[in-house]
Symmetry: C2
Subunit: 679 residues, 2 copies
């Protein structure tokens, strides 16, 4: 149990670091009264959203917990030990709670760091970067610390990987709704603010006259900080849970905790070493941090393998995952960075009109799936073949360790990702509080770096989800084997599997469409409200001093609408999964998972990359190409960006979580499917 | 061999009917000199494209034939009988030739029927409909007759289903290029004509001043007549070939010919009975034709099953395919018809701006995949379970018979489909030759019915391709079993299969992107040429009499460009398939096929339906909603339509063929993969 205890110690250390960084950020100089007041509005808006969301999710999670108690691991009235059922329900709630807590901590620090970073930007880029990065690191440390801590505690107290699966399911369920809800919120606010502000009235982004501007800044936090954190929290736990289920059979569960712990340690070291350096290039600093963490992790695990006599084949499989994660990140970067061909080409196409903005973006989005899918395929194959000679059960374990490898640097990745919305907010605050052009230049530069980091994180999160769910498929197979003593395959030629695949293929598409339609409906409500305010509040349009928009109303619409729209989509995914399981049985479920993974990965990659591409093409034109701001090319690019927004910030990133949730449900309910299915 | 001979007799009868209808159409009254002159331009343009395309494809097909001769069924220098290799190469060329011939006949009659139908429209809708439909039926009869004839002749002379596979591969290869080339051509012309004509200059569609207008009308023929005909020719043969490979093992090859023959017979009867009837509703008449054919087929096969003592389980499987084909068609209709919710919703969204046109279209496109995928999954499962009790090998045979069932009414479907471009052309001729408003009303009505028929055909073609390739996967498995005496499965958990799946998933996306980028590049060349003509030809813009645009130049650009752009995409699909086979071996290929089918079906459905939806939303607004023509909503809808065009007419429909080609290559090269793969 050495590594399990070490895991708990290191995760407590991560909490310590997070607390230290939190205090450090909090003690940075205050801003002007206006700046602090706006920051307070954003903080309050974010907290309003969070507390409403958590209240609804608490009800929802309680219902699921009761269902789990009744049905898992066995029907409670047939159960020999009711405590087992209680344990499963508790683990679920524990996972949901920790994920929610990490989200809350993230939002808290992000809405403090944003104004501190804005204030520091008046001095220079160095402190401004440091504050934003350290703010992000609080989130990174909290998320990874909480996930490892939870998994460790549960394993020590129960020694049952099933409870870890249930814990993971709790985290996933919360992530599904945090991601989808946050995603709908953020794009509702963003699209409506842009449509009325930039397009109709021609006022700048982040203009304080716009009633939706605070909601927009709130959205960055609830979408990217809380949402993305919950997503990676969830992937991280799911990869650990899957590796444990598979690893226990061959007695390698310690290795899982060992590598996961060393990954967190590497992230802690990486986070502490990062600084802007001499070159003062924020994007480079973030990337360097990732590379350093990767290097530390490789060395630490190699040393551990020598000391503890772990097989170097497993180490190799882990490295394969790590390297492919980085490659997928770099691919996302290629397709979305403004110094690469795709962005330039889409900008050029915009010159011909909006239809060509869309077509060219669609084409590059489709192309961008190839390297990532190939990477996932090659890494699974390599990890499998590397570990196959170690004996029965090791091949699949290799794949699960590749997922662990890919997620090992997740602490660093989340830190980079949370950096994005903090500097985005800082930029907004600089503009809204009129802090001057120098500060704006600094925050613009940080914002661009943040955008790239966000794009890389998305690619990374999708890759991680991909490998994790394959490992979960392995875990599912293992659970069925334990229950029935039968190794089931998922042969495509088995018509039940094929049937499952077809349904599984369609679910992510329907899920994505429902979310995007939700954004659309919600944005329409909000646009109406903005129009109403501009018409009914005297002097608002002209910017007369004292004419203040009712920011809260917009925040309210975004909040209520997001929560209303996310439930049907989430329920659809869960109910279809159960329907396939109870109709088609375990083989159909295997196919369903496979189909779901395939189209889910595909759509997530496509949407994230096409969306990022459109966004940056717009920025590329804004920087002066093809007539710059206000030109026809710019108008076309804005249309592209608006289309890309719900793709990249609502549907795309929610798909990872949808896949993971569905995979976990299948693993948990496998025994029920075996006993009570129609076929 | 009774049914094989009957198949040949019935297919000769189909040729006879085609010849009779051809003469009947040709003997209809001539038009005015202007009308005949424009029709001649279209005919010449289409023939120019076809002869250039066929010349290039002849070279390409010869190269492949030589490769087949060298490698298949065994390496020629190791072969015990060189005649076998020669036979394979010949069958390939025969398939390509027959497909090309059917395309040529279709183009010929379509470019005669268009002007006849336009002339008749001056009288009334009844003769105009009759001419257009009978023109389409020539194509329908020729295609189905040729495919059954070829398969029958080859089977009688060789008794080797492998040669039928090679024959099918010839047809597919030609279809791949006809579809992709025609698709690029038609959208190049359409987009450029619209962009400069409608958008920049504000002149009507089909205005004779527009230098691209003839190319646009040519495009309808080469894309929809020759392309779609080749596609369904190919699916039809592939389904027969797959059923034969699987059926021979269990001695049911006669049944395959029996059902295919009765399908053709039902189509002949359906075609002869169709007429506009009392209600004078062309859309209803086309649908009634399909339903009647379906009914006749069901009765004929039931009677045959009684007489020849065929199992009614197999009949049931066939019916399942037939019914699902119709359901998929109806689904396509729901998502694209202008009296249903999706079109109205997208039109409403256009009111808010082009970004919402695109987003809402994307959403409905994604949703539209669900019923079709579910239908394919359910039909495969039902057909399998129905036939499983009949014994070993029957389950998979059931699926292949479901594909035969779905394709049984293909003669009728092609007739309906070819009706579309004929009336589209007729409408153009009425406008260009100034035949008056009454004729325009008639052809507008026929055109709308043609558009719906086209949308249904696309859904149908995709469904048929879906079931056919599953049957081909079964054929592939059977071929591997014969070669190695080993029943291979395609278990998703096998990492080679998984690797194959990941690569297979990406290929259709890359293929679609390459084609759409080809359209984009080609359209840009053409727009330049149109600009040049408007600037350099005096009086053209003002419509001064005698100022005639150089139509041929535009036809030339579209032709050369389409041929240049289609080769890389086609080669990519073929080479990646071979790479996966020679690297990963037969298991990887199985996964590759599965992945390829999944994302191919998904993308094809999405693109066809979203494209149709955008097109009809534009028409919906043009009919007066949200401000009608010229309103902001209309401008937004035009952007949606432009985005949808290459989706629905270039990439989407080419994907079926891409899937089939790749499946056939794998079946043919299976033995090579077994002997010479890396893994």
């Amino acid at each position: 149990m050495f590594w399990v205890y070490t895991a708990i110690v290191v995760s407590i250390a991560a909490f310590g670091i997070a607390a230290y960084l939190y205090r450090w950020v909090k003690n940075q100089p205050k801003g002007s009264e206006t700046a602090e007041e706006i920051a307070m509005l954003i903080r309050r808006g974010a907290n309003t959203f969070l507390s409403r969301e958590y209240r609804i999710l608490a009800v929802f999670a309680s219902i699921i917990a009761v269902i789990i108690f009744i049905f898992l691991p066995e029907l409670v009235w047939k159960s020999s030990n009711v405590l087992l059922n209680l344990r499963m329900a508790f683990a679920f709630l524990f996972g949901a709670f920790l994920s929610a807590l990490a989200g809350k901590i993230g939002i808290d620090i992000a809405t403090i760091a944003n104004v501190k970073s804005a204030v520091a930007a008046k001095k220079s880029i160095v402190p401004s970067f440091a504050i934003a990065f350290k703010g992000g690191a609080v989130m990174g440390m909290a998320v990874v610390g909480a996930s490892l801590f939870g998994a460790g505690i549960l394993y020590i107290t129960t020694r049952d990987p099933n409870t870890v699966l249930s814990f993971s399911f709790g985290a996933s369920t919360l992530a599904l709704f945090a991601k989808a809800g946050g995603g709908i919120y953020t794009k509702t606010a963003d699209i409506s603010a842009d449509l009325v502000g930039k397009v109709e009235l021609g006022i700048p982004e982040d203009d304080p006259r716009n009633p939706a501007v605070i909601a927009d800044n709130v959205g960055d936090n609830v979408g990217d900080v809380a949402g993305m954190g919950a997503d990676l929290f969830d992937s991280n736990i799911a990869s650990i849970a899957a590796a444990m289920v598979i690893g226990l059979v061959i007695g390698e569960q310690n290795l899982v905790f060992s590598y996961a712990t060393l990954g967190l340690l590497a992230s802690i070291l990486g986070v502490l070493f990062i600084s802007l350096g001499k070159h003062k290039n924020p994007g480079k600093a973030l990337n360097t941090g990732t590379y350093i963490t990767t290097g530390i992790f490789a060395v630490l695990t190699a040393v551990a393998s020598i000391i503890f006599n772990y097989s170097f084949r497993i180490w190799g499989a882990t490295m394969v995952g790590l390297v492919v994660g980085v490659i997928i990140g770099i691919t996302s970067d290629y397709f979305t960075a403004d110094n690469k061909k795709p962005v330039a080409e889409v900008a050029r196409a915009s010159h011909t009109g909006p239809a060509f903005t869309i077509i060219s973006g669609l084409c590059y989005g489709l192309l961008s799936c190839f390297p990532a899918l190939l990477g996932i395929g090659v890494s699974a194959l390599t990890a499998y073949k590397l570990c196959e000679p170690l004996g029965d059960g090791y091949a699949m374990f290799g794949i699960s360790m590749a997922a662990i490898g890919m997620l090992s640097v997740v602490g660093m990745i989340i830190s980079n990702d949370a950096f994005g919305p903090i500097v985005d907010n800082a930029r907004g605050l600089v503009e809204m509080a009129g802090m001057g052009d120098d500060a704006l230049t600094v925050t613009d530069e940080l914002d661009a770096a943040g955008n790239t980091a966000k794009a890389i994180t998305k690619g990374f999160a999708i890759g991680a989800a991909g490998l994790t769910v394959i490992a979960l498929l392995g875990a599912y197979q293992e659970i069925v084997r334990e229950a029935t003593d039968m190794v089931i395959g998922f042969d495509i030629m088995n018509p039940l599997v094929f049937f499952g695949i077809m349904v599984g293929l369609a679910v992510p598409a329907v899920f994505a469409a429902m979310l995007m339609m939700g954004v659309d409906r919600n944005a329409q409500r909000m646009v109406e409200e903005i129009h109403r305010q501009f018409e009914s509040i005297p002097g608002l349009k002209e910017g007369r001093p004292g004419a203040r928009p009712e920011y809260e109303k917009c925040i309210d619409i975004a909040t209520v609408g997001a929560l209303k729209e996310l439930i049907p989509a989430g329920l659809m995914a869960i109910l279809v999964t159960l329907a396939v399981g109870f109709i088609g049985g375990i083989h159909a479920v295997g196919g369903f998972l496979a189909g779901n993974i395939m189209s889910g990965l595909f759509l997530a990659l496509f949407m994230a990359n096409a969306g990022g591409l459109w966004d940056n093409s717009k920025k590329y034109i804004e920087s002066g190409a093809y007539g710059g701001k206000g030109s026809d090319a710019h108008k076309a690019a804005v249309i592209g960006d608006t289309v890309g927004d719900p793709c990249k910030d609502t549907a795309g990133p929610s798909l990872n979580t949808q896949i993971t949730v569905v995979s976990l449900i299948c693993s948990l309910a496998a025994v029920l499917f075996i006993n009570y299915s129609l076929f």
